[in-house]
Symmetry: C2
Subunit: 275 residues, 2 copies
Amino acid sequence: MSRESRPIGVFDSGIGGLTVVAEIARQLPKEEIVYFGDTARLPYGPKSTPTVTQFAIQDTEFLLRHDVKVVVVACNTASSVAVDELRSRYDIPIIGVIEPGALAAVSSTLIGKVGVIGTEGTITSHAYRERIRQLDSEIEIVEQSCPLFVPLAEEGWTDREITLVIAHEYLTPLRDAGVDVVVLGCTHYPILKQTIQKVFGPSVTLIDSAEETARDVAQVLAEFGIANDSGEEPAHRFFVSDVPHRFKEQAERFLGAELPNVEVVGIDELMAAGR
Amino acid sequence: MSRESRPIGVFDSGIGGLTVVAEIARQLPKEEIVYFGDTARLPYGPKSTPTVTQFAIQDTEFLLRHDVKVVVVACNTASSVAVDELRSRYDIPIIGVIEPGALAAVSSTLIGKVGVIGTEGTITSHAYRERIRQLDSEIEIVEQSCPLFVPLAEEGWTDREITLVIAHEYLTPLRDAGVDVVVLGCTHYPILKQTIQKVFGPSVTLIDSAEETARDVAQVLAEFGIANDSGEEPAHRFFVSDVPHRFKEQAERFLGAELPNVEVVGIDELMAAGR
């Protein structure tokens, strides 16, 4: 297989990364995608850095067995804590969701005040804050973890009053701080975009890491000269480590399309890959 | 070590099982407890039966290496789907949380209408319903999964208005059905007991599986003649597969006491135990 025609590997702790897959498929319709969702061990958000790093290595090794040309870490938590370790281990490009999101935030803010929301792991790592400060040390950054947003998105309570009340609870400090840009630092949050926008009002720009990351993937493929320009219809493959209850319903909400056949990878097999 | 002085093994997907530990320690103050919380792979609630069963076997094998005399499956999801498999594999008593909760529900209902609440895994398995029907086939059972209760309990939002609103959302069908007993079929739910009671009013009895299970443990130890009657102060041991963010704060909320030293077991080690 030529270098160009090899697939793009994407992994996430579960199904949230399907928002990134949807964006890559939209922006790069000729590229084949191999997705791995670690649904047996999700979520990564509350878990420690050593544990998330170990899982991220195993997930990457699994994708490498499918001969991927780049690995997209479509999980903010893993991107926050494990991307450096992955880059030091592997020769192919490793694309996290932090850099594209941070870059878009810096480009978008008019007043130099940026909010970042995410899981406990992402916020505690301060990965967005550090990356934004590297790009522009003058920017003021307000961070907030929103642990209930993932379960609310998975429950599908996207337009309920209750979700708006919880969003107010988490986001009021950011609104009061007067940020004009907010990074949605978790692949689940685009599902709640309308509710989040309602709290901030129309003058605040929300940065969706899925969109920015897909743009970054396109750029990396171009720069490395490995974009696929064959005329064949790509056949994506979807792997998960478990098929949880309500999987199909939830996965399709994130993918925004009908989910094709999903293959299950045993945890044993996965761990054997990461040794 | 004599059979009697061996510890009681308790496992859970995470920290919820500490409510069971607290009750065992209260009811059986002479017994030593070895606890394992699978915090690297929590939660078990949404995951499939084969995956939860595989994890439960590995958790049990880990406890057996500590020479436990009984294993308490302090996780409703694992009790619902994996206890039969564990009983067929091991010779020591395996105590789940379903039987004690079902028995208490049948004893407590005056009108023969019982509500059961739990995770997706527990409710989808219908384990409580089946067990209650075996005890009394006349009882009417209304089941409801409440996926947001675990994250709400972990967030510590126990007495917020928002939690009451979500509780109303989930529990109104049970209240309207006129149940007089509700089984709290998840070790996290006792943390939300006051809120849940508020929705149902004082005339509805809530069954706390932690209390019932600790009573069952006492009975099994007596029946098998393996209760510890030495005068020594027991030294409990606590193992987890990860130390997530906010672990100590959350664990102590469930244990209702200060948490002693916690030892971390690698996932590799855990899986090696389950082969």
